[in-house]
């Protein structure tokens, strides 16, 4: 159909479909407000967002917080454990008190609060960095497959299929075991997770790009002589933002669990750097004698993954045009939104 459209008409279509005018899928300046409004409407997502924000804050401020407590994550406190009883912490609830807010670790007497908040840095840092790598690879290959020639598409899609089919844990274990010890471990874990598990996001992006490619504003842009790169950047990426952000929000908790599992299996970050997964490994035998030792990293992991998942779901609901249209059926509502966005435009300008 787009073949019949003249160049002028094409420009018009582009103008009509330009970022910011489709409230359902495009987070332009006003789209962002729309998005926040929808996100705020979901109470669970809001709570989750607050929790995630707090966690990130705690992770960033870990050295400050431990300094406030007067402890650090690696110092041994042999006087706080009962050596004759296997090294169980002295005192009630694993030695919780003014000096050690969450008690101390059995066998070493290291401060658990310090280890937990420093562990958050590893867990969240690795998960976020790995997610960025996954998105970068997934989006690049997805768009390239969708816009490239048939041959390129076939090749990239089969490569993507291979990565989707890879058993992530087994591959990670193998890779982490063979890399020399000198390589910085958190970076290595980030790279392994990031480079191995981008297959699904590439598939989503490719599918979405194929859909967008058929839309009038993209065809018009092509007809008006734009290059592939410019089209991808100006016309496709804004349309891809919704599914990509949604997917990313769900990838972060998944990456946290993978990092925890790898550390649990002893191939993640190295001691004495604390991570939640590593704390879980050491703590699993202590569940009867020192339950708080196991409950702290397990609880932290649970809360983080739950909050991120709920938030991810909220983001999806706020961005997904189909979910949105399910919520607001009928053109009347749609027109109302347009009126809204127009109004916002005015106030913002």
């Amino acid at each position: 159909m787009s073949e019949a459209v003249t160049k002028a008409a094409a420009e018009a279509v582009i103008a009509a479909q330009a970022p910011g005018t489709d409230p359902a899928s495009v987070p332009g300046a006003s789209g962002a407000r729309q998005f926040w409004r929808r996100l705020r409407a979901q109470r669970a997502a809001l709570v989750a967002a607050v929790v995630v924000a707090l966690l990130v804050l705690v992770a960033l401020a870990a050295p400050l917080l431990t300094a406030l407590e007067g402890q650090d994550p690696t110092t041994y406190h042999p006087s706080l454990i009962d050596s004759a009883r296997g090294g169980v912490p002295v005192g009630p609830l694993g030695g919780i008190g003014g000096d050690h807010w969450l008690g101390v670790e059995p066998q070493t007497g290291r401060d658990l609060f310090a280890r937990l908040v420093h562990g958050a840095r590893v867990s969240l840092g690795v998960a976020l960095a790995a997610t960025i790598i996954q998105i970068a690879i997934g989006v690049t290959l997805g768009i390239a497959a969708a816009l490239g020639s048939r041959w390129v598409d076939q090749l990239l899609s089969r490569i993507t299929d291979i990565f989707v089919a890879l058993p992530l844990m087994i591959m990670s274990l193998a890779l982490l075991a063979i890399v020399p010890a000198g390589f910085p471990r958190p970076v290595l874990v980030t790279l392994v997770i990031g480079l191995l598990s981008w297959g699904n996001i590439a598939k989503v992006v490719r599918a979405q790009t194929l859909t967008l490619k058929g839309l009038d504003h993209v065809s018009a842009a092509r007809l008006s002589g734009w290059g592939t790169w410019r089209i991808a950047r100006r016309e496709l990426l804004p349309g891809l933002a919704a599914p990509v952000i949604t997917y990313a929000a769900l990838l972060v908790p998944q990456n946290i669990t993978v990092e925890a599992a790898l550390s649990f299996l002893g191939v993640g970050v190295k001691p004495p750097t604390p991570s939640w997964g590593q704390m879980l490994t050491a703590a699993d035998v202590w569940y009867q004698a020192a339950p708080q030792y196991l409950l702290l990293p397990a609880g932290a992991l649970f809360v983080t993954v739950l909050a991120l998942t709920v938030l991810g779901d909220g983001v999806r609901t706020a961005l997904d045009p189909r979910a949105a249209s399910r919520l607001r059926v009928g053109t009347g509502r749609r027109r109302e939104h347009r009126a809204d966005t127009a109004g916002e435009k005015e106030t913002s300008s």
């Binding site: 110092t75 042999p78 296997g86 059995p106 070493t108 010890a181 004698a289």
Partner: protein, 572 residues
């Protein structure tokens, strides 16, 4: 300093066992008489003993078993020329006669050993045990298809190096003579004063040639001990033993054999074993384990419960966990660097990482802290309990490292509290105070053991451990420090590459001694001499806490292997 506490602990363990036995008697519904008499702790015959283990009794053939002192379950079925002393209260590390009338009569230079069998010894089918059967049993262990035993016989017997066993070479080994049916003579190619220790291993159990079924013999080996194999499922995963009526307590001073039946169940997880023993439900009330001890967390839980704490026995086994250096790798070629690390080590945090003071004793000697090893207390680089960082810095300065060092510590990733990450992290923390930055290199368990025992890949600084085949200085020191035992291709245990003529000569001289007490003293002195080279940093000797079911009595834990002896316990 450690010796008194050790004795105190042992006394405590004995008194605990008495209390428990009394308690168990009071609880037992069948022991009404005992209850009336206020607690009869005397053991009685009868009942079924359950053994809950991790590892199956694989290849249950006397030729294929690799045991220390005749083993735990194997010793119930196989009698050997000599065996370990199991009398309660005795040192428990001595060799005593078993099938033989004495521990062996050597010639002047200990190259020839003669044994005489007791009278009236019988197999489970009532036929007599002869010296020819013992010779045949040893010859079988040379057959390639029956491999698995210790390598000593091949190294020590004259002309045995290339012997392929009786199936290929029916002439047999000329080095073993049997002048009559009760006498057996061994001819060795070098003096070996410790031959009586070797004669405790199951390769010295009699095998009747007529009943030998080759590789299938392990399904039903012919018993010479108090029990015979009734059922052997899944290659020793479940083993059922019943009384051998032809065994006589009159010829066997070491085995008490109180239970009528023994049910060995293996393939269990160690936490499951300890959980089942602490719950003591049903058959588990009369259960023990011969291969599992309490871990730190389990000890913490058990010691918080009086009833459970009373059911824990303490065992020692000649064993040392240590840091090893490879002097061919810089900077460990400099003895001052090795000494600095010896001074900087914080043994109290290492002991805590190993499970605390109840599960490990700080070590400053390479030899275990037991008399039979010739233990002579010494502390050549006194680090105190928490390390001497100042002295370490001074030595590093002398060695040309005024700004400290960065080194890599290789350890295994297995969770064994011996060479595991916890121990490595504790060392890392202690050396930090002396200005030494330690990077950790954790290897998978198999990879770790291949890496440290190959001269081409051996790291410079790593965690290691060593236990001996019998409680004496010989098998503890010779494989690690005898320069002639450096293996260029294959598994090398002399990881410090020590090849000192005077050390090698002293090892040869001690091997000639047949007075084991005199030999022990010289092993102790040799250990101290080697210790000055700082090729190792001894860290700790493990202590084993063994939990047992609530109806178990007559608890005997010998210091030979540190395990609850199944040949001594009673369930009634």
């Amino acid at each position: 300093m450690r010796q008194p506490s050790l004795t105190a602990r042992r006394v405590a363990a004995v008194s605990v066992s008495l209390v428990v036995a009394a308690g168990a008697a009071a609880c037992g519904p069948e022991d009404n008489d005992a209850k009336a008499s206020g607690g009869d702790s005397a053991p009685h015959q009868g009942g079924t003993l359950t053994i809950l283990n991790r590892n199956p009794q694989q290849d249950f053939d006397p030729a294929r078993l690799y045991t220390s002192g005749g083993g735990k379950v194997p010793t119930l079925v196989f009698r050997t020329l000599t065996t370990r002393n199991r009398e309660n209260g005795a040192p428990g590390t001595e060799v005593v006669p078993d099938l033989a009338t004495d521990t062996g009569r050597p010639n002047k230079d200990a190259t020839e050993w003669t044994y005489t069998l007791k009278e009236g010894l019988k197999y489970e089918d009532g036929t007599a045990i002869t010296s020819a059967d013992i010779k045949y049993g040893i010859e079988r262990s040379f057959a390639p298809e029956l491999s698995g035993g210790a390598p000593y016989l091949r190294d020590w017997l004259v002309g045995a190096a290339d012997y392929q066993g009786p199936y290929k070479d029916s002439k047999g080994l000329a080095a073993i003579e049997t002048p009559d049916s009760r006498t057996i003579v061994f001819h060795l190619n070098k003096p070996e004063g410790e031959f009586p220790y070797l004669a405790t291993q199951t390769q010295f159990a009699p095998v009747p040639k007529a009943k030998d079924t080759g590789t299938k013999y392990e399904e039903h080996p012919v018993s010479s001990g108090p029990y015979k194999v009734v059922k052997n499922e899944n290659d020793g995963e479940r083993l059922t033993l019943e009384r051998n009526t032809y065994w006589s307590a009159k010829t066997d001073a070491e085995r008490k054999a109180y239970p009528d039946k023994i049910d060995v169940r293996s393939g269990l997880d160690s936490s499951v074993i300890n959980q089942r023993l602490s719950a003591s439900q049903g058959a588990d009330a009369t259960a023990i384990t011969t291969d599992t001890n309490l871990g730190p967390a389990e000890l913490a839980k058990v010691s918080g419960d009086k009833e459970l704490a009373a059911r824990v026995g303490t065992g020692h086994f000649g064993y040392t966990d240590y840091i090893a250096f490879n002097p061919n790798v810089k900077p460990f070629d400099d003895i001052r660097v090795r000494q600095a690390i010896s001074y900087a080590v914080d043994r109290s945090s290492v002991v805590n990482a190993a499970g605390g003071s109840s599960l490990a004793e700080a070590a400053t000697t390479y030899l275990p802290n037991q008399k039979s090893f010739g233990y002579e207390p010494y502390d050549l680089f006194p680090a105190g309990s928490t390390g001497n960082a100042a002295k370490a810095r001074e030595l590093l300065k002398q060695a040309g490292h005024p700004n400290g060092l960065t080194i890599t510590l290789t350890h295994s990733n297995s969770q064994d509290f011996e060479t595991s990450p916890e121990i490595a992290t504790a060392i890392q923390d202690a050396l930090k105070k002396a200005g030494i930055t330690v990077k950790l290199q954790g290897l998978e368990d198999n990879d770790y053991s291949d890496t440290i025992h190959d001269v081409k890949t051996e790291p410079g600084f790593f965690l290691a451990h060593w236990g001996a085949d019998w409680p004496s200085g010989g098998p503890f020191l010779a494989p690690i420090f005898d320069g002639r035992q450096i293996v260029k291709d294959g598994a090398n245990f002399n990881t410090g590459f020590l090849n000192d003529k005077s050390v090698n000569a002293e090892i040869d001289a001690i091997n000639k001694l047949t007075d084991l007490d005199a030999a022990a003293k010289r092993w102790g002195a040799l250990d101290k001499k080697i210790g000055a080279q700082a090729l190792t940093v001894p860290l700790f000797h493990p202590v084993y806490k063994r939990l047992y079911g609530e109806d178990i009595r007559n608890i005997v834990i010998s210091d030979w292997d540190g395990v609850l002896d199944p040949s001594q316990v009673a369930v009634k």
